[in-house]
Subunit: 336 residues, 2 copies
């Protein structure tokens, strides 16, 4: 049995969803020869630390407390910060699952840097620090001979990076493009299928929890651009940042344009294009693998040998995203 | 530099496509730390064997000869059979790339068994032996502590098996279903998009090289069933064979049914369903990831954590299929 010790940083939606999946899959992981132990869980106001017994933190207990907003009433809670924990608690992998500020990348960026400097592997769902400082953090990981993996940071449950690295190894990737944002896809699908106007579709997306109250970040194309930056750097050896991405959002779309497209057997989708470093509305053939409805994501990988491979799935959701987090964790666990 | 020695059995379309990709990717593979050497190439009438120098067979030379149907004029050609070669020539991996007889699985089945009994790993693009004797050959591989991988045998360039095993590790797979046959998809797409009748669409598929002269195997749903059997056994721990699959083909489809489906925003596709062990025409929503045009394949993986993941790509083509063959080879090479 291989024991893998984890530190979880961020116990919001994703952190709790991950913990729930870890509990559900305990038996399966044991059969695979792994025992995962959570040695610490860090939140913005303090941490729960358990490094004195062999089983790690009882996640059921912490999930119950967190549900009732009593995280800081846990018997092992102290005001230690994530940085204190990364220095003082022994673990193999740090999971950075905080929500990221897109301008500064914080607090995730500092957490990732501190984790690597303390010789932990890092798995993150946090797109902001990865997009802002891709080269810096991948270089730092290399320096410490540790891995930084971020499957969950782009397109949720879709295993884009591991698909390319673990199954399309022989291919040169010419382009990666597609639908990286579920909110805008939901809005465009509603407008196309039901003739709904933009504002009504946006309102519905909010009601269904697909869009934040402030959906500017999605609608402006900025969220898609973040993912384009990560995918281009990670899989196409580009060295681009936001300033290199030509971004336009979906607000300019008209009902006439959608209707005209339909008449010619096309749909209009917001496409992020890594090769062109561009986010823009584009015409997509109705029978293209990129014409997917609802709030799904779909990514097309244009390669030299396999030609086009498209992968489609849920771009969000705490449980769904955990599939990608585990994909990274198990890749690291194999090598430990 | 890790030297990996190969035996290629079958130098038809796939074997030559693979050799061509191996030549094109030599520099890339060297950068990855691998030197692949082809120690023997076996055809139905004899084999080219090169086990006396460090570089293996000059593939350019054999490709040129094969193009001119002069395979047996190579200086190292002899009448040795694949079985002689598997016994006598030292190699790490045997590539079984012959076309398979679907009733007997031969000659692939014997080649796979002989390769495993001689302690070679096996990578195959040959669906017949894998579908006919799935349990027998996977058990035999286990007994010899060797791998048998068959990514190229189902859905061509789509890395279905490695996707599930290497990126969706935490998921339980509830179902795998989709479009596993490009010929029938081409015919149905033509009938749907252009109102072409069945016989005209079939004729066009033949002219484009998507269908064999005898397309019974595709049209009857039998080819799809072969892939359902492999995927169900490999990824869902089923123990099924052809007799368990309910098969219906596409010949019963009417222009009226297609029209009616269209009016309700559906398309009709030939779907292989691993959970139900069924091949049948089904209604698919127009904005479903399974509504893909042309002769593409699309496979939906229904999981407990990631939910639905769909992967789409070319189901055939010698170059495209080589992507899957390399995916398997590099997985084995990592572990050698």
């Amino acid at each position: 049995m291989k024991a893998i010790n984890l530190i979880i940083i961020g116990f919001g939606n994703i952190g709790r969803g991950f913990s729930d999946v870890l509990l559900r899959k305990e038996k399966f992981l044991t059969e695979q020869g792994y025992k995962f132990r959570v040695k610490a869980i860090c939140e913005w106001n303090g941490s729960i630390i358990n490094n004195d017994d062999g089983n790690g933190i009882n996640l059921n207990e912490v999930l119950e407390l967190a549900k009732n907003k009593k995280f800081n009433e846990h018997k092992n809670f102290s005001e230690k910060t994530a940085n204190d924990v990364l220095k003082g608690v022994d673990a193999d992998i740090a999971l950075e699952l905080t929500p990221g500020n897109i301008r500064t990348g914080e607090p995730g960026l500092s957490n990732i840097i501190n984790a690597l400097n303390n010789n932990r592997h890092v798995v993150t769902s946090n797109k902001s620090p990865v997009a802002l400082k891709f080269n810096e953090i991948t270089e730092l990981a290399k320096k410490h001979n540790k891995k930084i993996l971020y499957e969950a940071a782009v397109a949720g449950a879709i295993p884009l990076f591991n698909l390319c690295r673990e199954t399309l190894q022989i291919n040169t990737i010419n382009n990666i493009y597609g639908i990286f944002n579920g909110t805008t896809n939901y809005i465009l699908t509603k407008m196309t299928d039901e003739g709904t106007d933009f504002n009504t579709a946006l309102k519905e997306a909010r009601e269904l929890g697909y869009a934040e109250r402030d959906a500017t970040y999605d609608i402006s194309g900025y969220d898609t651009a973040v993912k384009v930056v990560i995918a281009a750097n990670a899989l196409m050896k580009r060295k681009i940042n936001f300033n290199n991405v030509q971004i336009s959002g979906i607000t300019g779309i008209t009902e006439e344009a959608i209707k005209l497209a339909k008449e010619h057997n096309y749909v209009i989708k917001l496409i992020g294009d890594c090769n062109k470093s561009e986010v823009s509305l584009r015409l997509i053939r109705k029978d293209s693998p990129l014409n997917i409805g609802g709030n799904l994501n779909a990514v097309m990988i244009d390669t030299d040998i396999a030609k086009d491979i498209t992968i489609t799935g849920r771009g969000a959701g705490a449980t769904e995203t955990s599939s990608s987090i585990f994909s990274d964790i198990l890749k690291i666990a194999e090598e430990i």
